[in-house]
Each structure stands twice: as C-alpha cells, then as structure tokens.
C-alpha cells in the first residue's frame, strides 16, 4: 500500500475515510477537521516527505451532499511520487476549512483562488481576498449553480 496512506492510517486512523487507486494515482479521502495536522505529518515524515504542494483545487459536487470539497496534490522531491488528498466539507454553516498556509507558503494564492471562485473559506488564512475577480464581484463563478452567461 502507498506509504502516505499507511502513515495516515497509523497516525490518524479516525480521519482517513477512503484510500483509492485509479490509473496509478493514490487519492486519500480524509475528514476536514485535522487537515493541517495531516498535511504537516505528510510533509515532515521521512518516508513521505511531501514538501511541495502542487495545487489546491476547490470542488463543487452539486447536487451531491456534502456539496463542497478541497483537493490537495502533493509531491515529494525525495521519492518523486505524488499523492492526492481529498476532503469533503460539511454543508452546515457554509464551506470552511483550516488554511494550510502555515504548512506550505504556496497555498496562499491557491486558497485565495478557491475562495474567490467557489466561496470556500479558509480559517486562519493571512490574507483571504478575491484574487481573479474584481473586489466588488457578487457570487462565485465556478460554482455549479452560477450561470454561464448573464444573470
């Protein structure tokens, strides 16, 4: 089994929901509550050493519930492998998750983009502003219920 999945199942058995393999890629679905601890563990453990965050993708799974999710793609320069972390955010109280900026500085703009385009809030983000859309824009264009053109 994948090293990252092993590590998480050992350290955070409560948090891991599912480990999936597809086309040679490992996707680990975790609960959103301890995402920062999970990312720190994956970054710092010797056998995983995911010190590089490739991207964060905000997801809108409408009409599924829970509706929103966040996907992290991590890369290890030591092992030259990759793992995808996936987490689904509970519907109550709007989509919100802890920011991983303390883990990887590069998360800053990725999270701003997910906030801007999908309205996912990142708790503890140092500068959560819109990034691509104008400051006074209403709505989040990448949401599935946002119209393609017009109002």
């Amino acid at each position: 089994m994948n090293k990252a999945a092993e590590l998480l199942q050992e350290k955070f058995p409560e948090e891991v929901v599912e480990v999936a393999e597809f086309r040679g890629e490992t996707t680990i679905t975790v609960k959103p509550g301890r995402i920062v601890d999970i990312c720190k563990a994956l970054r710092d453990a010797n056998e995983t050493s995911f010190r590089y965050l490739s991207m964060i993708a905000g997801m809108d799974y409408l009409p599924q519930s829970p509706r929103f999710g966040v996907v992290y793609s991590l890369y290890s320069h030591r092992n030259h492998n990759r793992v995808t972390l996936k987490t689904l955010l509970p519907d109550e109280g709007g989509p919100v998750i802890d920011s991983v900026v303390p883990v990887w500085a590069t998360a800053n703009w990725h999270e701003r983009e997910a906030y801007d385009l999908l309205g996912i809030r990142f708790r503890g983000h140092p500068d959560l502003r819109r990034i691509l859309m104008p400051e006074d824009w209403v709505g989040h264009p990448l949401r599935k219920d946002y119209p393609l053109r017009g109002k």
Partner: protein, 398 residues
Amino acid sequence: MNGAETMKRTETMLLNLGPSHPSTHGVLRVLLELDGELILRADPDIGYLHRGIEKMCENRTYHKCMPLMNRLDYLAGEVNNFGFCLAVEKLLDVEVPKRAQYIRVMLVELTRIASHLFWLGTHGHDLGAMTPLFYAFREREKIMDLCEMVSGARMFPLYCRIGGLAGDLPEGFIPAAWDFVKTFPEKHQDYHNLLTKNRIWIERTKGVGVMTPDEVLDWGWSGPMARGSGVNWDLRRDNPYSSYEDFDFVVPLGRNGDTYDRYLVRMEEMLQANRIVRQVLERLPDLPGDVKVQDPRVSLPPKDAVYNDIAGLINHFKLIQEGITPPKGEVYQCIEAPKGEMGFYVVSDGSPQPFRLKIRGPSFINLSAMDKLSRGRLLADAIALIGTMDIVLADVDR
C-alpha cells in the same frame, strides 16, 4: 520635500506598476509600497485576463476544450495542449503510438526553445539590452514557421489531439527542422556573447531575487525557477511521460538561486531542448506507422471509412456530436512546461464534458512569491524580478 532636514523617513508611498506597463508582460498591476526607492511590500493584482477557462471547459466536450488550452500560456501554446491531451489519455487509459509520442516531444521541445527565446528577448529588453530581442526573435521566427508547417497556425498549432496528432508531419518539415537544429547552437552563442559577460547585465541580475532551495519548495516553484536555486528536479527525467526516458539530456542547475543563475539555467535548457529535437529527428525514420491511437472511442475513423462504410459513418457522427466519454474518475497529469510544472486535474463523471478541470499554471505560482522576492529591494529590481519569473498573464489568470 523641502530640505535636507526633512529627508528622514516620514511616510511611505504607494505606486501602481501597471496594469499597462511595458515591463509587466501583459496586464499585470503590482501595487508597490515604497520608502524612497526601497520596496516595502509588493502586491500583485491579477485577473485582468481572467476568461474563466475552467468554467468554460465544464460546459464543452473534451475536444472543444483544446483551443482554450492553447490560450493558457500562449507563448508555448502547444505545450498546454500536450499536457491536456496526456491528462485525458490517462483518464481514458489509452497510449498513443510511439511515433506520435516522439513527434509530440519534438514539437514541445521546439516550443520550449521559442518560449525561452521570448523570455530572453523581453527580459533583456526590460533591463535595457535591446539587441538580444532582435537576435532571439530571429530564431523564434523559424520555430513559428515550423509550427505553421504542421498546422497552418503559428502561435496555436493545435497539432496534438486526444489520442495522437492531427496528422503526420508534412513534406519538407524534416529538412526544415534539421536546418534549425544544426544552426541553433551557433546562434545561441550570439546571445551568450551579448549578455553573459556583460557588466551591466551582471550588475542588474546577480544577487537579485535570491531563493534558497528550501524556500523554493515552500513557495511551490518549479521548472527553471526551482533549478536556478539548485533544486535538482525535472519532471521529464523524474516522472517521464511520452517516452522522455528514451532521450538523453542534462538538467542544468544553478547555484546561487538569483536572477543571473536562472538566466544561465534557461540558456542551457535551450541547448538541451535542441539536443532532444535532434535525437527525435535521428530516430523518426525508424518509427513508421500511425500517429493516432486506433480506438473508435477516441480517434475519428479515416475519411474513406466515413464515406463508404456505415459503421465508420456512425462512429464519426457519434464522436463529433457526442464527443469522447471517459470513465468516471479523476487524474492529475503534470508536464514540464517551459515555465515550470503545468498540471491538469481532470475529474470525469462519465459524461462527455469534464466535471471539473483545474489547471495548475506555473506562472500563477511563480508570481505568488513576488512579495517575498521584492521586499527590501530597489524599485528597478522589481522589473528584473518580473522578467526572471517569465510570467505569461494568460497563464496566471486563466
């Protein structure tokens, strides 16, 4: 200011660099907080070129996404297409024929040279060296001509298709490509002569925008930006795709992580790309055969079958009207684009449109470190920094 006695630090000034400024390489606005000439804070304001490509792709078939991919990093249009094709092919679990893989590699490496040449010309121009621009564009023009030969378009060839290529190489391409490959190293020396030992160039770039390897990983830098700091990482070598493992090339590394080292890395990368193109050209004659995967789910049938065979006609109709339908699943495919890691996260729900397409543009990530790089530097260094990041705003904003 009304005299030397009031010249002590009083208040800072906000300066708008851009959105329409010759050195910002597109419509980028950087809000600079200055203390005299010293930069205290830099806040890039992006989004002027946001076209919502990710949203548009969710509403069109995979084939119809392709022209949009060209327009991400428009200086290396074919590279984006190539990456997107690889991602969808991974989703479909098809492997394109070896000949198509080689031709793709050749085109991508030529595009890499073209992109680096553009960077060299504009970066030099920003810092006051006018001549490299003309020299670089001389060779870039030849690559544009090669692109035009394969497809009729210069900037956006759209030659890669899901499942292979639009067609085999046209007559006359191989000699023209050989001509470029043979003459390029000599021309490349011209750029070195102009800049590498140029006193002004060294003064403007040495020690400017230093990143340590640890910072590079933390800030998610990739490609030449990471290698300039000595991070020994190249996706072509470390996670090979499209037969890159067949080719012999060196991954150049910098030592100091400054603008000058990144300049040297990119310069050497052009020669290495040229080497790869040469290897492809040497091996192509031994690789006859198709340039498209023979799979009715993915590739259009030959025209002969469409006109004379009902099954072929149905196949053609279904692919055009419906598009390809990958199975349910999600993949992340990244490639070594000229500017760094270009990634495509494609989620399919089994329908002919991608459920979600997230594009990881290297320019977006590289630019995010602008504030970190420019703090404490002079205003003039900000111009050098924008140049060294080699950003394309269409790739930043998507």
